[in-house]
């Protein structure tokens, strides 16, 4: 396999970052003590820290990264546009809106799946709107404008819901849903999101051949036996399920799906099918790294993961727009 080396590098990087993520935290414990606690049977505070705080956080980072990287690569492959990304086109913020509505109306408290399902519904609405407005023939400008409009609307509605909420902490919650964070998550969040994410991953991972064929345009792809309607639905459900579930437990984290495929594209010969798996693993590594950075840079200020991703991602986004403009001219 031509890309075996890339695969091994990405997997190794992700594993190293995963272990590093387990070792970083306010509880000042040695490397071996922390890792040993994961395998020890006796109940001590260290084991509690590892199992209840650090392990779910690291697992969620991997899950979020895979979801975002895979969704970004799939959206870009389908729209044939390197600017497509679940955060930028409003999928994440719409999912956050769904999650906030579920939490504030009490649906989430009434039955456990209410939260992820509501976030998923928000995400479905956004993906359908984007495909309807910007479609594959819509071009970059339409895509970005549609994304701005959807993000703005979803963001405003999220703020409105929280504004009207009687909950005194609602205002600080706005920050969480807009920026995303993996702080204080538990195994409950992992088990809540994982089934939906796996459904989404399976859907998106199956799109490789279609994405490759779509490189030559819709007509050519269809004449090569690609069922475009099915591809479209697989993409909508895949992105909505993975990003929706991700947002339901970690808030809206942007730019991962933009940065990761952009960096990895050259290493897979730009081939959309290879970019799918590469971005999935690369996404996990990126979110793990960013989440470690959040804890290392300002350990006692609860820096939001989404803020760090935006600081890294937004300049790259500007660069891509510049490059895109130059290519068109």
């Amino acid at each position: 396999m031509r890309y075996l080396r890339l695969f091994i590098i990405l997997c190794t990087l992700t594993s190293v970052l995963f272990i590093a993520s387990l070792l970083v935290g306010p509880a000042n414990v040695g490397v071996f003590d922390s890792l040993a606690a994961l395998w020890s049977d006796d109940t001590n505070p260290l084991q509690l820290v590892m199992y209840e705080i650090r392990l779910p956080r690291a697992i969620l980072a991997v899950m979020a990264g895979v979801s975002l990287g895979l969704s970004g690569a799939a959206l870009q492959g389908y729209l044939r546009n390197p600017l497509a990304e679940p955060g930028l086109i409003g999928v994440s913020s719409s999912a956050a809106l769904g999650a906030v509505i579920a939490l504030q109306t009490g649906i989430a408290a009434q039955f456990a799946l209410g939260l992820p399902l509501a976030a998923l519904s928000g995400a479905v609405v956004a993906v359908v709107l984007i495909l309807f407005l910007a479609g594959p023939r819509g071009g970059s400008l339409t895509l970005i404008l549609a994304g701005i409009a959807i993000s703005a609307l979803a963001g405003a509605l999220t703020s409105l819901v929280l504004n009207l909420s009687p909950n005194p902490f609602a205002v600080s919650e706005i920050v969480f849903w807009m920026m995303g964070s993996l702080t204080d998550r538990s195994m409950i969040h992992v088990t809540l999101a994982l089934p939906f994410m796996i459904l989404g991953w399976v859907m998106l991972a199956g799109l490789g051949r279609s994405m490759d064929a779509l490189t030559l345009g819709e007509d050519a792809a269809e004449s090569m036996g690609i069922h475009l309607t099915r591809v479209r639905w697989q993409l909508i459900i895949g992105v909505a399920a993975s990003v929706g579930a991700m947002t339901a437990v970690a808030g809206a984290i942007g730019f991962v799906g933009l940065v990761v495929p952009h960096i990895l594209r050259r290493f897979v010969g730009s081939r959309p099918s290879h970019l799918l798996w590469a971005s999935a693993i690369g996404g996990a590594a990126t979110v793990l790294a960013a989440d470690i950075a959040v804890r290392l840079i300002l350990p006692d200020r609860d820096l939001k993961l989404g803020v760090v991703m935006a600081i890294i991602g937004a300049p790259l986004f500007l660069h891509l727009i510049y490059q895109n403009r130059r290519d068109v001219v």
Binding site: R209, T215, L216, G217, D219, S270
Partner: protein
Amino acid sequence: MTLMSLDRLTVLRGECPVVDDVNLTVEKGDFIGLLGPNGAGKTTLMRGALGLVKTTGASSILDIKPAARAHHVAWLPQSREIAWPIDVETIVSLGRIPHGSQKLITNTDRAVVDRAIKRLDLTGFEHRIATRLSGGEQARVLIARALAQDTPLILADEVTAGLDPAHQISVMQIFQNLAAEGKGIVASIHDLGLAARHCTRLVLMHQGKLVADGAPTDVLTPENVKQVFGVESYFVQTDHGPIFQPVGIVR
């Protein structure tokens, strides 16, 4: 053997028929030049025959199950789209997608891809990035992609547009040879002279209707050319083969 037959094929855009009641059969060995002015319905006819737009009437391709169609006919759209900076060899091997998983390229796949690359004079370009090639080179890469699909029938839209004279002739010769090997080719062409020299059969369309179908000399008559294209023409048989040249606009 008939590779494609269209029976009263009609494509409507709103109320107006863009392709109007067309009957056409393509046999093995046919290299059909599909002629007609802009807006005559050439592209829509081919897209309709492939099932890419809604039609009434019958196209034999639509009788084939959707999954098997890609084994019977390859389609070269007019928009030469290559979305990502992928190398030439990979683009050409995309033509193998209907033949199974592209991840495990079999030896047959390899051989077909290599043959297509050679046929289109792209040897040495295999590892170049397709999007950085000139327009004409990209056109040849995409033709090679369609050949790699290895189908008995190929439909091609404006396939020689933007190629230099040498490559125009070589593409026409490739299609001629493929037809001689028993494939069927339908190619819409604006260069009437090129079509007259290389195609085994010409089909002339005007305002959505098929107005002539036959050997080049029977189709490119001065009356037909005047009526359909609005130009005077000069058509002779020479030692260099048939020479067709439009010479002036009909006033």
